[in-house]
């Protein structure tokens, strides 16, 4: 049949029918064509300006030469240059010199807080107060010493980390490896608790002291004050990295040993970031009440 005008709407029909049903011929509205053409032209322009068409083994680079990788490299470079003023000074000066300079320390505290938040806070806490198994950095008790050089070294190589220069420290499993039997361990626990003024429910302090001198003093020192060159904690203060100084937890540690781990940050953070973090951690220790 031929296209004919539909009496109801005034539109033409398409001129074909399906079992008696005809269809109105409603072409695509003109505004749609308009926007289709405009966007097609925009796309054409964009193809010319930006990287777009694959060409076998390469692609069209675009007239603007846009490159995300080059852009981010330039942006990072620019940001580095912007900070170069104070970061250059931080790198050039010694720890003590930077610490004496309030202007540099203000920048270190601000940047250090961000770096600390990104990298350290998940273990040591946002306020660096530590948690079970993760040392408090705002106190005076640093396992490996609290000089800036010692802290820098710890951050750089880590503790029991994958870094070949890593600091290594391990407390043996005195009970599991049958170095000490149960009564000996109970005595040692009683002695260790007595160092910080606590009292154990079982165990003999005097016998514990003998066993301590024979087995523990080589790392923790004869008086239990710890040794920073082997990362052995001070047992005579109220600070406990793991547990809260309870009898049962101390027993577990003597029985099963301990080997904490801190990752090495050498490859992940730049020398500048490492220095800022060191200064930030040193500063945390000084700010404590």
């Amino acid at each position: 049949m031929k296209p004919e005008r539909d009496p109801e709407t005034g539109w033409m029909t398409t001129g074909h029918e399906w079992n008696g049903i005809t269809e109105l011929n409603t072409p695509v509205p003109k505004p749609v064509w308009f926007f289709l053409i405009v966007t097609a032209l925009f796309a054409l322009g964009y193809w010319l300006l930006m990287p777009a068409f694959p060409l076998g083994s390469t692609f069209t680079k675009g007239l603007l030469g846009a490159d995300d990788r080059a852009a981010v490299t330039a942006a990072v470079k620019e940001a580095t240059a912007e900070r170069a003023g104070w970061t250059g000074e931080v790198m050039a000066k010694s720890y003590a010199e930077v610490e004496r300079d309030p202007r540099l320390m203000a920048a270190v505290r601000e940047t250090g807080r961000t770096l600390f938040g990104d990298n350290c806070s998940v273990c040591h806490g946002r306020e660096a107060k530590g948690g079970r198994g993760f040392p408090n950095l705002t106190g005076s008790s640093f396992l490996w010493g609290n000089s800036p050089e010692a802290i820098a070294e710890t951050i750089q190589v880590g503790i029991n980390s994958a870094n070949p220069k890593s600091r290594v420290s391990q407390m043996p499993a005195f009970g599991r490896d049958h170095v000490l039997e149960r009564p000996d361990i109970e005595n040692v626990v009683a002695y260790v608790m007595s160092l910080s003024g606590a009292k154990a429910s079982v165990g003999n302090v005097e016998a514990g002291k003998t066993a301590f001198t024979a087995n523990c003093a080589v790392c923790h020192g004869p008086d239990g004050k710890g040794k920073t060159d082997v990362g052995a904690p001070n047992l005579s203060d109220q600070i406990w990295i793991r547990g809260g100084g309870e009898e049962a937890s101390i027993y577990d540690f003597v029985w099963g040993g301990l080997q904490g781990q801190m990752p090495s940050w050498e490859g992940r953070l730049s020398p500048l970031d490492l220095k800022i973090l060191t200064l930030y951690v040193v500063d945390l220790g000084k700010q404590r009440p």
Partner: protein
């Protein structure tokens, strides 16, 4: 042009073919030619494949829907490069089937999280995220430490990966189960084979702290600890500006 549909609409098969033709233009022009462009994927001849334990961990990562909140792609933006490290390269996920780049972050990006935190932290954090990060909204995955890892099908997983192009050797496939045990038990005789087959730099540790039993926690932590470390191509080609 304005009358073309008069003709087209009357030919059902012709119309269908025209739709297929138009719809395939995008793929034909924009996607297919990428396979012939060398620059699409960088070279990383030193890249190693996932060990069976890491692959099992990856499957758990997918199963638990970790990708819904964590992306594994550092974009070419200054803040991302400064926070997470070098931006991700295509080659870094060449053994990822499927890739887990993601487009949404509720948690942080994990593309370079391997080695950033200790195994102990990862285990504690998966057990109870808020004990370590008070503001975290991540659910607890403590049950992974109680679930023994299924290892009888690991060879098949490796075989499936090989079918889509991951270069697992027959030796790796045959020893998949033993290597999974060995990687989490450094003092066992099985540990040696892991280094032999996957390189001496492979992490061989009791990931969940308990060397005796192989759990899903072992597998997931092994996987998390290798993220970003299968190749150092990104560190070689990318200047982070520092």
């Amino acid at each position: 042009m304005f009358r073309f549909h008069y003709w087209l609409e009357r030919k059902a098969i012709g119309f269908a073919l025209a739709i297929v033709l138009v719809a395939s233009i995008g793929g034909a022009v924009e996607i297919a030619p990428l396979f012939t462009i060398h620059q699409t994927i960088e070279d990383a001849p030193d890249m190693r494949v996932y060990t069976p334990l890491e692959l099992a961990g990856r499957n758990i990562y997918v199963r638990e829907g970790c990708y819904a909140c964590h992306s594994q792609m550092i974009r070419t933006l200054r803040d991302e490069v400064e926070r997470y490290g070098p931006y991700s390269l295509a080659v870094e996920s060449k053994y990822d089937h499927p890739m887990l780049w993601g487009s949404k972050r509720t948690g942080p990006d994990l593309a370079r999280v391997g080695g950033k935190y200790s195994d102990e932290w990862q285990v504690q954090h998966l057990n109870d995220p808020r004990a370590l990060v008070p503001q975290s909204v991540m659910p607890s995955y403590a049950r992974l430490g109680r679930n023994p890892l299924r290892t009888d099908d690991l060879s098949n997983h490796l075989r499936a990966m090989r079918a889509v192009g991951v270069p697992y050797t027959d030796d790796m496939i045959a020893n998949a189960r033993a290597d999974a045990y060995g990687q989490a038990a450094p003092d066992s005789p099985l540990a040696e084979g892991v280094g032999k087959r996957y390189g001496e730099a492979t992490n061989v540790r009791p990931f969940d702290g308990a060397p005796g039993v192989l759990t899903e926690m072992d597998a997931l932590v092994a996987y998390l600890q290798i993220l970003g470390h299968l190749t150092d191509a990104a560190h070689k080609t990318v200047a982070t500006g520092q």
